[in-house]
């Protein structure tokens, strides 16, 4: 109850967008009016508002609304798994580096900095080129591409928290290092990481679009917002709605997720509690 009252207008909007996305992703096959890959050549380039094709149809006459709904599932699942993987890898390495310092830190940091120096998308491209284009490959590739940022933020946060006196107090009490880390350091890292994770969620959707646009993403004919953009590129003059509609989906998702992230950060700050 009091969590809901503390969300603020941004949190509500963000929450609503996130909820809508989850519903689309889960129940997409029941909601979508058509099969997303069913061809209807008579409806090629049907404008939005055409009977039977609410948001129009693409160059093969596939229903845009259905493709967007199915694409939401693909894009969001990829984003969720990628962020989870990046967080898991990044958090582990970041905490180890930040808490134990010394050689552990030096090795992890040098590797991490080299990874950061390498453009993330290029790294993902490389991995995809080797493994081949599929949703799983994309998650793995993007997960590794995004992990270094998490490592860096986690390491910096941990380093500032481990200097706090309550962490020293925990050691003086006699807690083992693992317990100190788990009980006092980790929970206090969560807030900045939540913001990072939601921001990253948006970046992953963009990266997925970019990779799909380059033809290395989700292989057609399966729809994702990214490859819809890519496929629509030749028709930008004649049927701009083909680009605009998935573009709107991506923008609204990014905005919503970011708003939700800010709200979550506020909610998780103990100082905001009355």
């Amino acid at each position: 109850m009091n969590i809901l009252s503390r969300m603020g207008i941004g949190g509500w909007i963000g929450g609503a967008v996130a909820l809508a996305l989850v519903v689309l992703a889960v129940a997409g096959s029941w909601i979508a009016p058509h099969d997303p890959v069913a061809l209807d050549l008579r409806a090629r380039f049907a404008a939005p508002g055409t009977a039977g094709h609410l948001l129009g149809a693409d160059e093969f006459g596939r229903d845009i609304l259905s493709r967007l709904i199915y694409g939401a599932r693909v894009s969001i699942l990829i984003a969720i798994f990628t962020v989870m993987q990046a967080m898991l890898v990044g958090l582990t390495l970041g905490i180890l580096a930040g808490y134990f310092r010394g050689w552990t830190d030096r090795v992890i940091s040098v590797l991490n900095d080299s990874a950061l120096a390498f453009p993330g998308l290029l790294l993902a491209l490389g991995i995809m080129a080797v493994v081949g284009a599929s949703a799983t490959a994309m998650v793995i590739a993007l997960g590794f591409a995004f992990a270094p940022a998490v490592v860096r933020v986690t390491r910096a946060t941990v380093m500032s928290i481990r200097e706090k006196e309550f962490v020293e107090a925990s050691r003086v009490i006699g807690n083992a290092e693992g317990i100190t880390m788990w009980r006092h350091v980790m929970p206090n890292c969560i807030a900045p990481l939540t913001v990072l994770a939601t921001g990253m969620f948006g970046w992953v959707i963009l990266a997925e679009s970019a990779l799909s646009f380059l033809g290395l993403g989700v292989p057609p004919p399966a729809p994702s917002w990214g490859n819809m953009l890519a496929a629509a590129r030749p028709f930008i003059q004649d049927a701009p709605f083909l680009i605009v509609l998935p573009g709107i989906c991506i923008s609204v998702t990014l905005l919503g997720v970011n708003l939700l992230g800010d709200a979550l950060r506020d909610i998780m700050d103990p100082r905001m509690q009355k």
Partner: protein, 538 residues
């Protein structure tokens, strides 16, 4: 003639219109020093800032007149006000570490006000600045012009700050806790410098402070504030010697003085913690290859703390006193010599010893995990005792909570919902919950208000009488040490210069450094309490 006349000043906060300052009035004559005294949250800083129009955006001037040299400051447009600010009214802030711009050399920062208000040329500015730097006895003023703030210590920075404010010879200087962040010895220097410069230029000073001892020494008139209101005003001497308002009496009473009854029993006790030629060195900055020279901060310190006794460890910041305390509880690695606990080399990996040696940190705002509730914080050490049931643990937490004077309902709260004093009680409760034999108290009261300090010191002493733990009480504040210590050790730059019984150190100091320290502290916190007829002790 009055220079600054404040009448019925009222400052309100936010939409709720909470009155932060309520109908405050005072007059300040040219060249005089007036002090606004009060504890944190009394509204003294906001009152002073409202004079310059420097209030945070959520505060607003609700009512009252602010007349400076015949000009109504409250009615002045922002542009006109900024012409007065810096030229005719100067301000010194509390935190010298952040009030100078770290990216600009000192010379550039100092000439800013001169060029802005007096329109002097660069060369003239330089000449004036160098003269001023010579006046405040900066070594090598020319080099100082090109130096950056981080190259100076806190005390030096505050001197530079004062110098740059005084360059324009303002008619009024507002000094907001100008020395709170500094050591006793340096406080003394900085305040002397400030009052000297003010006297030379005929500048009136509005001094804002929580420190009655300091006010007694420097201010002619005083206004005592509580919850935004002036509760008492008058000549400093009269107000402090014969305080009429109960709150002023409480403040005067909280001035540190020697605990009565003198020493506790003199029977020799068994040594509990012994330091033998302890050295501590911090590693130098890490390089890619190899190690740089470590920096030694404690150079072979011998100390003994007996069971049940309090040893006060006094020194300036950077003297290594905190490092010694941290070394005993195992937060720093000893690089030479040894520490013995009950005669044996201390082994903190042994759980029994670990729970026997505890520490209370200086800052109760960072020593408690912001995400844990008070009950969890106090109960956490008990989790390591596997034999305790959940119920026994809860009972013990309640008992300790009573012992440190915390109401039970606080147990379900989070640290940020408590005041500084209450948080420090929580930290103390956590330290004593497993009945340790030895407690290091690292500046446990220096972040607290005077009246709260007194309560916490009394609490520490009371707990010690009851449980008989030995205590190393680390402080830069001689007043606090005088109140709680049985014996005192004075440390200077990593070396112990003097150890002795409390009364010997305070009444018959031997070492030069101790004498200087006492001198400065005497002026600040005891000048007045000593001269005044002792108020009825509560």
């Amino acid at each position: 003639m009055t220079l600054l006349s404040v009448q019925d000043l009222t400052v309100e906060a936010g939409a709720a219109q909470v009155q932060v300052v309520r109908r405050l009035s005072f007059d300040l004559e040219p060249g005089k020093i007036l002090a606004l005294v009060g504890e944190s949250g009394s509204g003294k800083t906001m009152a002073a800032r409202s004079i310059l129009g420097l209030m945070p955006p959520q505060l607003k001037l609700a009512a009252g007149r602010l007349e400076f040299d015949g000009i109504d400051l409250a009615a002045l447009p922002a542009k006109e006000l900024s012409r007065i600010r810096g030229a005719r009214i100067g301000m010194i802030f509390q935190e010298p570490m952040t009030s100078l711009n770290p990216a600009l050399p000192i010379g550039r920062q100092m000439e800013e006000a001169l060029r802005l208000h007096l329109g002097l040329s660069r060369a003239e500015c330089r000449r004036k600045i160098v003269t001023m730097l010579e006046r405040i006895k900066m070594p090598d003023p020319q080099a100082c012009l090109r130096a950056y703030p981080h190259e100076f210590s806190g005390g030096m920075r505050q001197r530079i700050m004062i110098a740059s404010v005084m360059l324009t010879k303002p008619a009024l200087l507002i000094a907001d806790e100008p020395t709170t962040a500094l050591d006793t010895l340096i406080q003394h220097d900085v305040l002397n410098l400030m009052t000297e410069l003010a006297a030379e230029n005929g500048t009136a000073v509005l001094l804002i402070s929580h420190d009655l001892g300091m006010v007694a020494r420097y201010a002619e008139d005083v206004v005592v504030m509580k919850n935004g209101e002036a509760v008492e005003r008058g000549k400093t001497r009269t107000v402090l010697a014969t305080p009429s308002h109960p709150y002023t009496q409480k403040l005067v009473d909280a001035l540190p003085r020697r605990s009565e009854g003198g020493d506790r029993d003199e029977t020799p006790r068994k040594p509990l913690v012994q330091l033998d030629a302890v050295r501590v060195a911090y590693p130098g900055p890490t390089r890619l290859i190899g190690k740089s020279e470590p920096k030694e901060v404690v150079h072979g310190v011998d100390l003994t703390i007996a069971e049940g006794e309090t040893l006060g460890l006094v020194g300036a910041s950077g003297s290594g006193k905190t490092t010694i305390g941290r070394a005993i509880v195992g937060l720093e690695t000893v690089s030479g010599g040894g520490i013995r606990f009950r005669g044996q080399p201390i082994d903190l990996t042994d759980p029994a010893t670990r729970s026997d040696v505890q520490i209370i940190f200086q800052d109760p705002f960072s020593s408690l995990d912001p995400r844990q509730r008070i009950a969890e914080i106090i109960g956490e050490p008990l989790k390591l005792d596997r034999q305790l049931t959940v119920r026994a643990r809860r009972d013990r937490v309640r008992d300790v909570c009573d012992e440190v004077g915390l109401p039970q309902e606080f147990l379900s709260r989070l640290p940020h919902q408590l005041s500084g004093g209450q948080r420090q009680r929580v930290a103390i409760a956590r330290a004593i919950v497993r009945c340790p034999a030895f407690v290091v108290a690292d500046e446990p009261v220096s972040a607290l208000d005077m009246t709260v300090q007194k309560q916490i010191l009394a609490l520490i002493r009371e707990l010690q009488d009851r449980h008989g733990f030995g205590c190393l009480f680390i402080s830069h504040d001689l007043g606090a040490v005088e109140q709680v210590a049985d014996r005192v050790a004075v440390i200077e730059a990593g070396n112990i210069v003097e150890v002795g019984r409390r009364d010997d150190i305070f009444d018959r100091p031997q070492a030069d450094y101790t004498k200087r320290l006492l001198d400065a502290a005497m002026l600040l916190s005891r000048s007045f309490a000593g001269a005044a007829p002792a108020p009825a002790s509560a």
